[in-house]
């Protein structure tokens, strides 16, 4: 009895310790980076146009928040990001699903997909501003185009590289073609789809900034551009810092999502 109880708690404690040490390590790494940043800004690079200490960036962020300006920029960029990325996810998965499910359509469209994927869509940015105006619409279009292809391509890969044995097992159980798709190919593709979303998220964040550089009235990219032009380097770093945090948070959220819908991919990690 006691032996079993001890065996039950020992791995639990080990996992906790590992978790704890992992978050401590992360915290240490972040603190060290902040300290180096501060030292660099105070003692090494003394031009406030090129670089500012970490503390000054925080203060600047607080000031911008006080005026209400920062919230507005964050909100606009957030709307653009969510709109563009949500559209990219839905379209990427749906179109990827259709192309991955049909060899004919895949052969027909795959060259176009690879071509557009390798094209720097950013170059089309000014065109979108002309078409859709300076507002949120053109930004959503650009973000959509930068982030849709990783989702789409990963979905196709996930659907077309299903383990042959699994397909045969289902076939030998008398599965129909649509059952093969929904019960075997789709679930097998899930980790690939999420991998695509993770790649897409990073590209969508880049898309936010770049889209706003081409012409905007608000947003973090606009703020970054604006502060460069008025030599307000501290504000520039505020924008960059917020985007970095947004990147970390969205990747972390996607990891949580993956743990939820594809739990079999994670348990080995914990052992």
């Amino acid at each position: 009895m006691t032996g079993a109880a001890a065996a039950g708690t020992a791995p639990g404690r080990a996992v906790l310790l590992k978790r704890l040490s992992r978050s401590t390590q992360t915290a240490f790494s972040l603190l060290a980076a902040a300290a180096i940043w501060e030292i660099m800004g105070r003692f090494v690079i003394d031009s406030p146009i090129l670089f500012v200490p970490f503390s000054r960036v925080l203060v600047r962020g607080y000031e911008l928040w006080q005026t209400g300006e920062l919230q507005q920029h964050i909100w606009i960029s957030f709307i653009e990001f969510i709109g563009g990325f949500a559209l990219a996810s839905v379209v990427g998965i749906l179109v990827g699903g259709v192309l991955g499910g049909s060899r004919f359509l895949k052969n027909l469209f795959e060259p176009w997909v690879s071509m557009l994927y390798s094209t720097p869509v950013i170059a089309l940015g000014p065109l979108f501003i002309l078409w859709l105006g300076i507002g949120v619409g053109s930004k959503i279009a650009i973000i959509f185009l930068t982030s849709v292809f990783p989702v789409l391509i990963n979905t196709i890969i996930g659907l077309t590289t299903t383990d042959k044995t699994l397909l045969e097992v289902a076939r030998s159980c008398g599965a129909s073609r649509s059952q093969l798709f929904w019960k075997v190919q789709m679930p097998a593709a899930t980790p690939f789809v999420i991998g695509g979303l993770r790649l897409g998220v990073a590209r969508a964040l880049v898309g936010v900034v770049v889209a706003e550089l081409f012409g905007a009235r608000a947003g973090l990219g606009f703020m970054i551009l604006n502060s460069t032009q008025s030599f307000d380097t501290a504000s520039l770093y505020v924008g960059v810092l917020i985007l970095a945090v947004a990147g970390i948070v969205s990747v972390w959220l996607l990891k949580l999502l993956e743990e939820r819908i594809a739990p079999w991919r994670f348990t080995e990690d914990d052992e």
Binding site: L166, V169, A170, S172, G174, A175, K183, T267
Partner: protein, 266 residues
């Protein structure tokens, strides 16, 4: 005389690969009685697995027919279950959900299937593992689930394609003993493909030997060892006589098979 469960009539299979015709199987006529355990052995590439896939209906024969209970088979269905060499468990499904895959695909109600699946899980000795995921199981356990899944389809005929090939020698031996027990308790008709001659002799009522490619029936040997058999039987002179006999029959086919491979490569 037990009635015939499964029969193949002059079954042939040819592939066209890169423009050249490849004859894999020629005129296989085999009859298996209800509840009989038949193993197929032969050199690599002699078409054993192809034969099983034809019987299941996964692929279509070039000519000839497969009959189950006197009715021709044209596609896979609930009348036959297939145990693949790789366990083929769905990583996103728990053990119990893997097991109800067959009934689920046939549109049977899940609750009823779960109850039945639990009974089968107990039969293969995996009671209490219902909610485990495949990656949490050992190779032997996964293969048990694989067999359990096939049993859960509820078919009378079980086709097994080297189900223990991926297991280590000791686990394989244990699984052989387990399979005889399961076969005895479920009274299925089993057609097993294997490379292990001792496995074939130990498990089977009859052992069928295929020739090298194109695979033809070379010899059918009735194993008249008493049942129930336990693993000790493998050390008896009768058992060794059977394995020796089969080995000598296969040996020249294996040599021919190697020769074929060598010539087809050059």
């Amino acid at each position: 005389m037990t009635p015939e469960k499964l029969a193949t009539d002059r079954l042939c299979k040819q592939y066209t690969k890169a423009g050249t015709q490849l004859e894999v199987l020629r005129d296989i006529s085999l009859s298996v009685a209800d509840g009989e355990f038949v193993s197929i052995v032969g050199a690599s590439g002699c078409g054993k697995t192809t034969f099983l896939r034809l019987v299941d209906g996964l692929i279509a024969p070039t000519s000839g027919t497969v009959l189950i209970d006197g009715r021709p088979v044209s596609q896979p269905g609930p009348h036959i279950a297939f145990v693949f060499q790789q366990d083929g468990l769905f990583p996103w499904r728990t053990v119990i959900d893997n097991m109800i895959l067959g009934p689920e695909l046939q549109g049977k109600p899940a609750r009823q299937c779960r109850q039945r699946a639990r009974e089968i899980l107990a039969l293969v000795g995996l009671e209490g593992f219902e909610q485990h995921y495949p990656h949490e199981l050992s190779g032997g356990m996964r293969q048990r689930v694989n067999i359990a899944r096939a049993l859960a389809i509820g078919a009378d005929v079980l086709l097994m394609d080297e189900p223990f090939a991926a297991l280590d020698a000791q686990t394989r031996t244990i699984m052989q003993a387990e399979l005889t027990r399961i076969w005895r308790e479920t009274k299925k008709t089993v057609l097993l493909v294997t490379h292990q001659i001792d496995e074939a002799v130990y498990l089977s009522d009859r052992v069928v030997i295929f020739t090298a490619r194109p695979g033809r029936l070379k010899e059918i040997i009735e194993i008249k060892l008493p049942r129930p058999r336990n693993l000790d039987i493998k050390w008896t002179p009768e058992f060794v006589d059977y394995t020796n006999h089969i080995w000598h029959s296969i040996e020249e086919e294996v040599r021919m098979g190697i020769g074929l491979e060598l010539t087809s490569r050059t």
